[in-house]
């Protein structure tokens, strides 16, 4: 490698590392301040304490908001994933023009700014006589999560061998039976991804929740926002925030690990099979080509 090439490489490494530091800096800051024995998050550190965590968990409003957001997230994920499965099945056939139209509509939530959607939903709720309601929040979250779920599930569904479904029916399964026993298990990895993405989207959503969640029952982001204006609450907020972040990171790591494990299990040592049989078994008989790139499942939050 040339000198210039070597310098280039080093420069890029430095740049990347600096960026990683930059990207994780706020997370580290939160971690540091969550154990900082001072009511104001400032340096130098006054001492290490866990009292903020204690205080946070004693704070009913805070824990209530957390649980509420988690619950809403689960419900929205289930709804969005189920609807995405239906959409994927529906989009696997039919005429091209209808499909194009349907896809355009289904992908709309990706494009519409959440603030505009939020005020629109507010107007809608007012028009039907409901002003604020958690149900409205869940439904709003389902709508915005739906496109992500479809983008994850549909390619996976498409990549399944259509003959598998036929084979199941050939052997006596009903349409629903074939779906339940063959399609659904094979969709499993994408369903998990869908859940995670939908949950993250809902849990972190602020605009819709800020307009539609009733005043006494805020979601976690809404609560976060209002507490961030109260300096006294800041350390507790930071403490819980640290935990939430730690949990998210763990989930990401677990999801990636789980996805790789799930693929291995489903495919069952394909590489070994190919090698052992001298190429008689074709590697792409069972591998989902669409799953081979990890970048596949990253979606916006």
């Amino acid at each position: 490698m040339t000198r210039g090439g070597q310098v280039g490489r080093t420069a890029l490494w430095v740049y990347f590392v600096l960026f990683i530091v930059f990207l994780f800096a706020p997370l580290v800051a939160l971690l540091v301040f969550s154990v900082n024995d001072s009511p104001i998050p400032t340096l130098p550190m006054s001492g290490v304490t866990t009292k903020w965590f204690q205080q946070a968990f004693d704070n009913g409003a805070l824990t209530g908001a957390l649980v509420r957001s988690a619950l809403l997230g689960v419900i929205a994920s289930i709804l969005a994933t189920a609807l995405a499965i239906m959409a994927s099945i529906g989009l696997s056939g039919g005429r091209l023009r209808m499909r194009t139209l349907a896809v355009s509509v289904l992908m709309l939530p990706l494009v519409v700014p959440y603030i505009s959607l939020a005020v629109g939903l507010l107007i809608l709720m007012q028009a039907i006589g409901v002003n604020t309601s958690l149900t409205a929040v869940v439904l709003g979250h389902t709508v915005i999560a739906l496109p992500f779920a479809i983008l994850v599930i549909l390619p996976r569904l498409r990549s399944l061998d259509p003959l598998l479904g036929e084979s199941a029916r050939d052997l006596g399964a009903s349409e629903w039976g074939a779906f339940r026993l063959v399609t659904l298990p094979l969709l499993a990895p994408s369903l998990v991804s869908s859940f995670l993405i939908c949950f993250t989207t809902s849990f972190d959503e602020f605009a819709i929740a800020s307009f539609l969640a009733p005043a006494g029952t805020p979601t976690y982001p809404v609560f976060l926002y209002s507490s961030s204006r109260t300096p006294a609450l800041l350390p507790e907020v930071i403490a819980v925030g640290t935990l939430v972040i730690a949990l998210s990171l763990l989930l990401v790591a677990a999801a990636e690990g789980g996805r790789r494990w799930g693929e291995r299990r489903l495919v069952g040592r394909t590489a070994a099979a190919v090698a052992v049989t001298g190429g008689v078994v074709k590697p792409d008989t069972f591998t989902d080509a669409a799953q081979s790139q990890p970048t596949q499942e990253r979606a916006g939050g």
Binding site: D161, L163, L164, E166, S167, A168, R169, D170, L171, G172, A173, S174, G177, L181, V182, P185, L186, L266, V267, G268, R269, T270, A272, A273, V276, T277, V280, V281, K282, T285, F286
Partner: protein, 376 residues
């Protein structure tokens, strides 16, 4: 007990404006190994899918043991399919794959276990029950697919080019095994393939299909040695199709007189020897005799010149350009200790035995000038 008889009555299938299957009639008696043979797109797979119930016929009937299958969905017909890609459920073990159909029929647990073990033994996969499809070789996967279908004791087994994904040697081995299996189990096999060698090897009878129609149905020997159309002749191997004219039809004791061209008259005893006029004649390469040119001119011997030889191992393929302008391929067995020495450029006399020379009247040659005689 169902005998597994399949009847197709004026069966047709169109997809929009394109006709895939054009009114075919077939009777397949129970217990027969029946092949649908033809090139890609000839409609054989579509026909199979209509028997299975995956496609609804546009018109005509599919009858199984006399019962019209219209309105009966695939999941309720007593036929099962082995696909070319096997379509094994990747997330299930071999055992659960084979047990799948039994469970849909709500068979009792102990019976499921017993029958699955029997089926695995039948296809010689004892001990493979716990494995997943991805851990199996192609041949093993195919056997699981077979076991999965056979465990349900169907009246008819449909096979859609099941050996297509395997290499040549494995394919030949499995052809033999499949045939033996069919004889052992005794049910009707309807087998789709584009490989004529495969069809000839395994079948009791073959239906040769082309463009949605059945051109000929018969035993392998019939279809090969007595092709009724030029297409069948050409599809089942090298045919040496030649344009000719029958000048005198056959009579008792002698065959038709056929003018091959340029004053070369030969006698043909096989095929449509009662017609006169322009026809095509066919002779199989292994029936063509190559002799020293000194004999040219005597009965059914046409002078020519060797153009090319291809060494095939068991025999040699010799391409000869006849004096009439036709190109003929001969297959000479490498049985002698001495190499007969048919080298390029060497003059030769081609013996076309009358009994092997077949007249095809059903497809007269195109107008002169459009095509030179083909063969080989």
């Amino acid at each position: 007990m169902a005998s597994g008889e399949v009847s197709l009555v004026r069966l047709s299938k169109s997809f929009g404006s394109s006709v895939a299957v054009d009114g075919i009639d077939l009777q397949i008696p129970g217990g027969e190994f029946f092949s649908l043979l033809g090139p890609s797109g000839c409609g054989k797979t579509t026909t199979l899918r209509m028997i299975a119930g995956f496609e609804e016929p546009t018109s005509g009937e599919v009858r199984l043991d006399g019962d019209d299958m219209a309105g009966t969905p695939a999941s309720r017909r007593n036929v099962h399919t082995v696909f070319q890609s096997y379509a094994l459920f990747p997330h299930l073990t071999v055992f659960n794959n084979v047990a799948f159909g039994l469970r849909r029929q709500k068979v009792a647990r102990e019976d499921v276990r017993r029958r699955v073990d029997e089926a695995l033994a039948l296809v010689e996969l004892v001990g493979f029950a716990r494995r997943k499809p991805a851990q199996l070789s192609g041949g093993e996967q195919q056997r699981v697919a077979l076991a999965r279908a056979l465990v349900l004791r169907p009246a008819v087994l449909l096979l859609d080019e099941p050996l297509g994904a395997l290499d040549a040697k494995l394919r030949r081995q499995l052809q033999v095994e499949l045939k033996q299996l069919q004889e052992q189990v005794g049910i009707t096999f309807v087998y789709v393939t584009h490989d004529q060698e495969e069809a000839l090897t395994m079948s009791d009878r073959i239906a040769v299909m082309n463009c949605g129609r059945v051109e000929q149905v018969g035993r392998p020997r019939e279809v090969y040695e007595e092709p009724s159309t030029a297409f069948v002749a050409d599809f089942l191997g090298v045919s040496n199709l030649m344009d000719a004219t029958v000048t005198k039809r056959s009579s008792a004791g002698s065959g038709a007189s056929v003018l091959l061209g340029e004053g070369v008259q030969v006698e043909a005893r096989a095929g449509d020897t009662h017609v006169t006029g322009p026809v095509r004649v066919v002779i199989r390469p292994e029936r063509v005799g190559l002799e020293d040119p000194s004999g040219a001119g005597s009965a059914n011997r046409v002078p020519g010149m060797v153009q090319r030889t291809v060494y095939l191992g068991a025999g040699t393929q010799v391409s000869v350009l006849l004096a009439t302008g036709h190109k003929v391929t001969a297959l000479v067995q490498n049985a002698a200790d001495v190499d007969p020495g048919w080298t390029t450029g060497r003059p030769v006399s081609c013996h076309l035995p009358p009994a092997a020379l077949r007249v095809l009247a059903t497809t007269p040659p195109p107008a002169p000038g459009a095509e030179t005689g083909s063969g080989g």
